[in-house]
Symmetry: D2
């Protein structure tokens, strides 16, 4: 029979331990949420610079306006106001391959390029992706053009804390190489910066989507609280249902009846 083990947390009558640290004596009031989360996810205590950059990643991911996730949390609250946890969980479920997984794709691309070794990694990455007709993740943005202000700021923070190493440099070069290849300026976006910094912080592969879940949990709680005082979910519903009904009445769908 296999044993059930976990290094993450346990309790004794007078202690709560997180990764072996005494939560009350050594963490609460001494360490930030970002510091403790970094420790929890990696088992390592972050340096001051790692903590600052990790904190900035969480803040970047916290809120981005009326996203599909925020709409989902509000629409779920409309039907189930008794369960805030349901509205927030529903919103988080949309942070998948498209919205939550893009930073993961960036990290995977960069880690693979690093493992491949060789010169000019950016040019090679862009060329091989274009040859395989695979998109280059982490570049371009429909609204933020010519630069994504979040990426610029994250680059500056990384430099300030000595965390602008190989992954950051290569991601910037990938942006430039892709722009040259496609003939149009494609700035590194927030996702690209987050993916590169996750590598600099040596976060476990796959944890990038986790950062989005943590940051956005805070964002979604905010949306549900605002929905409680300034509701918009019902209006979104009424408009959409009215339009669908109108189209259906004008051109009744056939089916095979």
């Amino acid at each position: 029979m296999a044993e059930l083990r976990s290094d993450l947390g346990w309790s004794t009558p007078d202690q709560v331990l997180v990764r072996g640290r005494d939560l009350a004596a050594d963490v609460l009031g001494r360490r930030s949420f970002a510091w403790t989360t970094f420790l929890h996810l990696t088992g390592r205590e972050p340096t001051a610079g790692q903590e600052a950059v990790f904190d900035a990643l969480l803040v970047t991911l916290l809120e981005h306006g009326l996203t599909p996730s925020a709409m989902v949390a509000r629409l779920t609250h409309l039907g189930a106001p008794e369960a805030l946890q349901g509205a927030v969980a529903a919103g988080l479920l949309g942070l998948g391959d498209v919205f939550g997984g893009s930073a993961e794709a960036v990290s995977a691309m960069l880690r693979e390029a690093r493992a491949d070794g060789g010169d000019d990694p950016a040019d090679r990455v862009v060329a091989s992706r274009r040859a395989a007709r695979r998109p280059v993740p982490g570049i371009g943005h429909p609204v933020h053009d010519p630069v994504d202000p979040r990426a610029e700021r994250l680059w500056a923070l990384a430099a300030e804390h000595g965390l602008d190493g190989w992954y950051v440099q290569t991601m910037k070069q990938i942006g430039e190489a892709a722009s040259r290849a496609i003939g149009r300026h494609l700035p590194v976006n927030a996702t690209g910066a987050i993916g590169a910094l996750a590598c600099e912080l040596d976060l476990p592969a796959g944890s990038e989507r986790g950062l989005a879940l943590i940051g956005r949990a805070a964002g979604l709680v905010g949306h549900v609280l605002e929905e409680q005082t300034t509701p918009i979910a019902r209006e979104m519903w009424v408009r959409a249902e009215r339009e669908v009904t109108q189209h259906a009445l004008e051109e009744p769908p056939g089916g095979s009846a």
Copy 2:
């Protein structure tokens, strides 16, 4: 037709705004996740003391060992490893009335007592609850006895930052009054302290459960990452299924067939 409005966030080509602040210029690298979350949920910038206490609340809620939520996240990952967001969302769904709502019950009890006015609020609260056979939330703990170390530490932080006002004092007195009434020492637990501090921070009613969702999102990401390298979900399943099967074979349930 009603309008769709939100004060939380929006974007322009060169800015991302959160509660009207320029995320890149004024928040990233200058403000912590706790500061930004406080602003996001309340619309107010926290003082340094409010930020410190709010941060400590999130850290307190981050991890508490192999809770049902953590088991749920791991068991969900077992069947759906492609979707970290699903495992974390599943885990959060258990933060309801029992596990996530108890701090909410404390806040509501304290806010009601404050609104009622009068002397000796703690004695009145305990007496009226006992008369109505309603439990007093926020006191007692099956493991942490005689004191919950998290509550003690949160009280100390509150005092250090001048946030040990009416709500904190009344919650402490409720613990003492309940212990006298029941004839057994019942310490204020972490939930009691969190509920009282949510009132001191003037957080919106109902946001207490939201704090648990934010903190625990980080905890659950950690559990799924650990499950990926040191799995225990399958063993938990195999043991439980084997036992249920054994009992069923020994005493087959009847039904009405």
Copy 3:
């Protein structure tokens, strides 16, 4: 140590058992999904009439157009196309007190009236609810006026199968009593009929919301499949975000900065 027991299902090398019945030998191909679900939820084999009415309840709850739940499933799929289970689960999370719980409220009202005994239960229920300023669940509909065609059809089915007993009669009388009291025709709606029939079928209290979850799971799978070929989620998002952004730019929210 308590034992882990369940009467619902288990397996042996040559059998899968559901409520003690051999799934392959005695259920598959011989019993409908409605029959098996009724057995599973109640431990009782339904009569032919119970099966027919129970099946009709599931069908009634299957699909109701572009509801908030359907919008949620589609918006979640937009961000996480890899996980159909996430989109469906997100949609189900909105079947709470407002959308999923109303049939539950009807059943509870009827069961309480039955337990209270006495004459003229409908008049007493309506009078006591009006006195307490509590709504009467299960009557009135914003679209279906003067009658909800689903309720009418469910009543007819119940009569056909001899299941129009005390609960059905009382629910109809409650609709009439409420209409007289309020001075406006308020037809029993689908929810009212479902709640009354759940009582006639002697389903466990609280299972009404479960019927909605089962039926709507099928509806939501349909919405996600349609979204894959005829997407509308992105358009719903773009419209809503554009409007929120426009309002925010015209009247920037202040905050307390």
Copy 4:
């Protein structure tokens, strides 16, 4: 501006329409849940044989004992008893690539083999999978050996209704070819039969996981109702947490502090 359209459902004052059919007049009491779900997912009315086999697929997926999904639903209910929808949604979130997606993998394998054309599709599929070190989905079972009774029964039903065409025959041959290649009897399991029958029914690709979600929704409602009267979630939690704590106290995890 794109239009919002859906063929699935809409309402008028006197009608609720599902795929263009009048729900009250033409579906309720006349058509089963399986029939209506088939119509909803495909836009086609099933033949009597298609309805019977589709119904059997839903019944097969309804309940399979104390699975991880059932444990998740029960553990979630423990913390959030106010929200049945949350417990069921949490349980469904585990029906991903491993538990819910395997029938999908079978269908994809069979559809690809059909599209490839040629003789001896089963041998080619098995050989190419073994060469690529990819598993052959839909065969073998840890408990049901030498045959999976559900698969046998589903094959018999398919034959009875004339739905044992190319996909069913090829799946059976794949089971035999894989057994020969591996030198060990590997019966087609329930998943293999479901995947093959989804092809025979011409269900949309990707809907196989949807069938599991619909059937299992009923199973999970049953588990939460049983948990309300015969709880086991707390015991599962207590045992697991106790063991993790004991190991942690004996060998405190180090971390890098």
